[in-house]
């Protein structure tokens, strides 16, 4: 197997010959990526198979739901509120120049429910819960607690992974709604009380331009994000290397991979949902 350790050799004419090493590196990366993807697909198949073939064990879902959902509400709510306020601060100047600050609500709320609410909730979930799940499962792997479960005839994927993935998947819409609500509240509070935007017009324009579909599209996106966070975090925790460094790496990899996938899915699902939006609303949103 080619190794990434290969060092570029100096060619006879004094120039660095990168070709063999580059090829080796590319092949090595390709090999690792293929293994990772294959492993991840097998892991997903296992999760799906255990989700539908056997009922969850008593108490496992409630515990995961509490850890993932209930304990995330304050941080998601708080960050949502700040994002709403930041949007108000940033958009006020532009709208004020045009004398259209009464329409700020439409932009702030549309941005929140379609984009920032779900992405923010997912990012917070990946940071707070995803890395914690990876570290917890990684520690369980390193200290043989996962082997102990198997030795007692308890399938660790069914017992540890399925409740966490389901809790991430089912509770992220609630967290997204929380982020939306607090963001809308924060944006309005800043616009109305500090920037003196008229409250009636703020919400009048919002209700005119923000549709139920916008809210729904945010929720649909969040389902993809939640599933991704649950699966990716459990995967890295479950396959953690030995030692404190292995667990640390698993936690970091869980967050970084989840975050990248959240943004990638945001784009892909966003494009798909936009196509659906224009199918239902051919005229599209017209703010001015």
């Amino acid at each position: 197997m080619a190794s990434t350790q290969d060092i570029p050799q100096e060619a006879g004419n004094g120039e660095l010959s990168l070709q063999p090493s580059l090829l080796a590196t590319v092949l090595d990366k390709l090999d690792r990526t293929t293994l990772f993807v294959g492993d991840l697909v097998l892991f997903i198949i296992q999760i799906l198979s255990w989700t539908f073939s056997r009922r969850l064990r008593k108490g496992t879902f409630i515990k995961a739901a509490y850890q993932i959902g209930v304990l995330s509400i304050p941080v998601v709510g708080l960050t949502g509120m700040f994002i709403g306020m930041v949007l108000a601060v940033q958009s006020y100047f532009q709208f004020h120049q045009l004398g259209m600050e009464n329409r700020m609500g439409a932009v702030i709320n549309l941005t929140l429910v379609r984009e920032l609410g779900p992405v923010l909730a997912a990012t917070m979930l990946a940071g707070r819960v995803g890395s914690s799940m990876a570290a917890e499962l990684g520690t369980m792997r390193v200290t043989e607690q996962i082997d102990a479960l198997s030795s007692m005839g308890v399938n660790p994927v069914h017992f540890l992974v399925v409740p966490r993935v389901l809790a991430s998947l089912l509770l992220i819409p609630v967290l997204t709604l929380m982020a939306d609500f607090m963001g809308i509240l924060g944006g309005f509070a800043y616009s109305h009380y500090l920037l003196h935007v008229d409250a009636y017009e703020y919400f009048e324009f919002s209700s005119r331009y923000v549709t139920g579909f916008d809210l729904l599209s945010g929720i649909i996106k969040s389902l993809f994000f939640g599933g991704c966070i649950g699966i990716v975090s459990c995967y890295f925790g479950f396959h953690s290397d030995r030692g404190a460094q292995g667990v640390g790496k698993a936690a970091t990899a869980a967050f970084v991979t989840s975050f990248v996938l959240i943004l990638a899915m945001d784009l892909i699902v966003g494009i798909g949902l936009d196509k659906l939006y224009y199918y239902f609303y051919p005229a599209g949103p017209t703010l001015f």
Binding site: T143, E144, Q145, D147, A148, S150, M152, G153, V154, N155
Partner: protein, 285 residues
């Protein structure tokens, strides 16, 4: 040297069904590194087997393959005449419920209390008593009794594993492994890291559990005192990188009384705890 085909020192007239666990030409490889090679071992019902050998010779890997925690690269394991490789998840779970595993670091669930850890197999194991057949009172009583059997007071029930000493954790691990009254108990270095007194307590507990329930026990250990005291058969594995291609990985298989008289210098070096030529190999001589 032991012949591959006659790996058991027991009577050759014994019938097939007398063996609870059998391995046949077991090979295990991690990437390019081979850890186990053509291991064929038969373990009778009620026997206590100590597997000894230096670090990295594959003792724990061998132990884990016996209950399917690791899948062998080739070869197969029979548990009560069932080939582990042919079982589905449900069957394997049921089979594992007939075994207990005491892990090196006890592997207690650190989010659960001692009582919950011991009750875990009762509540969750595939072959555990159904919830309707056991009341909460019965369960608590069973857990208390398991705790007393390993010499721990009732006051430890509500403590968390992090609050316990190494010896106490091992004893809780033992209580958890024994609560479903398994037919086979596997011990992975049960006395490693413990002081001599606590080590002997663990040895006594292993012996008592065997006398009380006539369980089959397989323990992996470096501790010759444990092996001599507890086991009625000792298997010694040798690291493959120190063996020639044709040599058997099991360099001793016999009762503890015979190991002292074994003529193999490698066995004597291990049981006497002598470095031999290792210092030269490490460049420290």
């Amino acid at each position: 040297m032991i012949d591959n085909t006659s790996v058991s020192h027991t009577d050759s007239e014994e019938t097939f069904s007398q063996y609870l666990v059998e391995t046949h030409n077991l090979n295990m490889r991690f990437g390019k590194k081979q850890v186990l090679r053509d291991l064929s071992v038969k373990i009778r019902h009620g026997q206590t087997v100590a597997i000894i050998g230096e670090s990295g010779c594959g003792k724990t890997v061998f132990l884990k393959t016996l209950v399917g925690l690791l899948q062998p690269t080739s070869g197969f394991v029979l548990f009560d005449e069932q080939d582990l490789g042919t079982l589905n998840d449900r069957e394997l779970s049921l089979l594992r419920s007939r075994t207990g595993f005491v892990f090196q670091q006890a592997a207690l669930f650190d989010s659960l209390t001692v009582g919950e850890n011991i009750a875990f197999p009762l509540r969750h194991a595939a072959a555990s008593p159904s919830p309707s057949s056991m009341s909460d009172t019965d369960e608590v009583e069973l857990v208390r009794s398991a705790l007393r059997e390993v010499g721990l007071p009732d006051s430890t029930l509500n403590q968390f594993p992090a609050d316990l000493s190494g010896g106490m954790r091992k004893r809780v691990g033992l209580a958890r492994a024994l609560i479903l009254q398994p037919e086979l108990v596997l011990y992975d270095e049960p006395t490693t890291g413990l002081d001599p007194i606590v080590s002997d307590v663990i040895n006594e507990l292993i012996m008592r559990s065997r006398l009380k329930r006539r369980v089959t026990s397989i323990l992996v250990t470096h501790d010759m005192k444990t092996a001599r005291k507890v086991a009625d058969r000792i298997l010694m594995l040798y690291p493959l990188q120190r063996l020639k291609e044709h040599e058997n990985q099991i360099i001793f298989d016999g009762p503890p009384s015979e190991i002292e008289h074994c003529g193999d210098v490698r066995v004597q070096q291990f049981i006497q705890g002598e470095a031999g030529n290792r210092l030269q190999e490490l460049g420290l001589a």
